[in-house]
């Protein structure tokens, strides 16, 4: 009997090992399917999200190339709305105002904001903490309320309405963003680069131009983009502060929507979008160019 017992134990242990292997394999394949499932759900969710954002935009772009003025299908390709847009004096003037305002307020807000960020992060400014806190409310308070208070203030202080008032308002609105964005960049690189520059014989101006500026350049570029977007997008303050006869693009688009509109609006929107995308692409390339990762 002992002669038989030994192989049978061996056999059963063999079988047990085989069963264990098979179970492990099954478990493994189940884990793999589950991982696949999870991946699939993730992708599905991502696709929904992207569709939610991009489908309206794509339809908007497509309808700008559709011949029907009432957005009727079937789609027939045509450039008629772009041709009409080219002849739309009012929209062009509004567009020019928008660009002038955006460029001017971007330049002013970026320079002033960068200087403020420099002061607040590199020098001991009296009331530093309070200034830092005071930056936040303008970003939190609704633009409608800011615009209202600006309108009242400008009216009573004699600044009045017009492009100059709009410029002031746009600068004021974008300044906190510029300071925060550039300030973050100042925090991210150590002050000892500037100290090193000083020990190497560079005067403060040389240090600023050759060390500080290249280091904060990505932040400044991002801040400028912010400022541009805030101004170019700005509807509420522009609407309040624009005197009759002066409009900006958002104000004019709003006005024409109320009047009843044609796909010209799609055309101008498409143009604005393409320009913004190009700008964003340019800045993001610059970001990689100037900064450490």
């Amino acid at each position: 009997m002992p002669d038989f017992a030994a192989p049978s134990i061996e056999g059963s242990s063999n079988r047990r090992a085989r069963i264990r292997d098979r179970m492990l394999a099954r478990l493994h394949s189940r884990q793999e399917t589950m991982a696949k499932c999870r991946k699939l759900i993730g992708y599905g969710y991502l696709c929904c999200l992207l569709a939610f954002i991009y489908v309206p935009i794509l339809i908007m772009i497509a309808m700008g190339f559709n011949e029907s003025s009432d957005y009727e299908l079937p789609f027939r390709f045509s450039l008629i709305w772009y041709q009409q847009l080219a002849g739309n004096e009012v929209l062009w003037r509004a567009g020019r105002n928008s660009v002038i305002l955006a460029v001017a307020s971007t330049i002013v807000a970026t320079i002033v904001g960068t200087m403020a960020a420099l002061a607040m992060s590199r020098y001991r400014v009296r009331g530093h903490a309070i200034l830092q806190i005071l930056l936040l409310p303008p970003m939190a308070v609704p633009w409608l309320i800011l615009a209202t208070s600006m309108l009242i203030f400008f009216y009573h202080s004699g600044i009045g309405r017009g492009l100059h008032a709009m410029l002031l308002a746009h600068v004021a609105l974008s300044l906190p963003y510029v300071i925060v964005v550039v300030g973050a960049r100042f925090q991210s690189f150590a002050a000892d680069l500037e100290e090193a520059s000083a020990t190497l014989g560079a005067n403060p101006w040389q240090t600023f131009v050759r060390v500080t500026l290249p280091m904060i350049a990505p932040g400044v570029a991002a801040a400028a983009l912010f400022a541009f977007a805030i101004s170019f997008d700005q509807f509420v303050t522009s609407y309040f502060l624009a005197p009759p006869g002066v409009t900006t693009l958002p104000v004019e688009i709003y006005a024409s929507i109320r009047k009843g509109f044609t796909p010209e609006i799609n055309a101008i929107s498409t143009i604005i979008m393409v320009v913004s995308m190009l700008l964003l692409g340019f800045v993001s390339r610059f970001y990689r160019f100037g900064g450490s990762k």
């Binding site: 090193a196 000083a198 560079a202 060390v211 100037g290």
Partner: protein
């Protein structure tokens, strides 16, 4: 060719004295180490010399002229920062050329000088790399080359090797010393690493709470610490407290609370006053015989002891032993054939010249 003279420099932040009437003289071509725990003022002094900190009182003279109130960029000092502070947006060449180009040096001269110094720090051919493409040791050399290329009067080193791993650090210590000798520049090093200070410095100063505790050659400070702080900061040590019995025939005796007498051939305060003694662990012998091997035992301080704990460290063994007056740490080269076990009764002994008398 420069000396730096620190005269009565004090720096206060509110009520806190970061530097308290510090006076030091750094000789021409000297390698001087400032040593101390963090917050002891050594870094504040270095930053005062660089010009990042303006002293509340006192003067900093470089070659006899007071620089304590002129801005950093006019001071002509080179500095290597703890994290090197290389400009990430410039190549190695541009980094090293920077001090020359801000001084409006001609580009041909910049090129030849940068190349020469790159060779000196053994980085020839690395000019077009970016700092982030270099290893820590290479970055350290670029920082050193950049600090030296404009031939400043003083070189300041702020824990320059702290970020390197141990092997590289030892290698760079030797290299740093060689380069410093070759260039012949007055160098001031801040470190909290006593080994680094020992290896590199001609002289050191030990800082504590904004004051200089002791100045001297590293071996002198190590062998003759002035007070308990110096003794403990610079290597490990054993302390004994007792009462002076005065000096007779060149040998002083101190009685410990338990009645043990410790001999020293150093100056003692007058009989009856309390004193603190210190003995370095490596000066102490540990043995089973009555006297240390090969001696008559006269002149030696010999105490009975019990081994508490041997700590085996490969090349050496450190014994914690208990003696009637106190616990001792004894350092022994791992040369003996037999080591002592915990609980073993032994003798420890040392020569009177190794009993250091401290200021209280």
């Amino acid at each position: 060719m420069s000396t730096v003279d620190i005269q009565q420099v004090t720096k206060t932040y509110g009520e806190v004295y970061a530097l308290d009437q510090v006076s030091l003289t750094f000789a021409d071509r000297e390698f001087f180490g400032l040593l101390g725990p963090s917050g002891s003022g050594k870094t504040t002094l270095l930053r005062s010399i660089a010009g990042f900190v303006t002293p509340t009182m006192g003067q900093i003279l470089v070659d006899g002229a007071d620089v304590s109130r002129i801005p950093t960029y006019k001071r002509d000092v080179g500095m290597v920062f703890q994290n090197y502070a290389l400009f990430p947006h410039m190549t190695v060449f541009e980094n090293i050329a920077y001090p020359l180009s801000v001084r409006k040096t001609k580009s041909a001269e910049i090129k030849s000088r940068v190349e020469r110094i790159l060779d000196l720090v053994q980085l020839g051919g690395y000019g077009s790399r970016r700092p982030r493409e270099l290893s820590g040791g290479q970055q350290q050399r670029v920082a050193l080359a950049r600090a030296l290329v404009s031939r400043p009067r003083v070189l300041l080193l702020d824990e320059p090797l702290g970020a390197l791993d141990r092997n590289l650090r030892q290698h760079m210590q030797i290299e740093l010393r060689q380069i410093q000798r070759e260039v012949g520049i007055t160098t001031i090093l801040v470190t909290h690493d006593q080994e680094e200070a020992l290896t590199l410095s001609d002289r050191i100063a030990i800082f504590r709470q904004g004051k200089v505790v002791q100045v001297g050659r590293p071996d002198d400070v190590y062998e003759n610490p002035r007070d308990a702080f110096s003794a403990e900061f610079f290597g490990s040590t054993n302390f004994l407290k007792g009462v002076s019995l005065g000096v007779q025939g060149g040998i002083g005796a101190v009685e410990l609370p338990d009645g043990t007498r410790i001999f020293t051939n150093r100056a003692l305060p007058h009989s009856g006053s309390s004193v603190t003694l210190t003995v370095r662990p490596e000066k102490v012998l540990i043995h089973r015989e009555q006297q240390p091997a090969g001696t008559s035992g006269s002149q030696w301080n010999i105490l009975p002891a019990n081994v508490i704990q041997p700590v085996y460290m490969g090349a050496s063994v450190t014994y914690q032993v208990s003696t009637p007056p106190s616990t001792f740490s004894v350092f022994q080269q791992n040369r003996e054939t037999r080591r002592f076990e915990a609980g073993e009764a032994v003798k420890i002994s040392w020569l009177p010249q190794h009993t250091v008398v401290l200021d209280d």
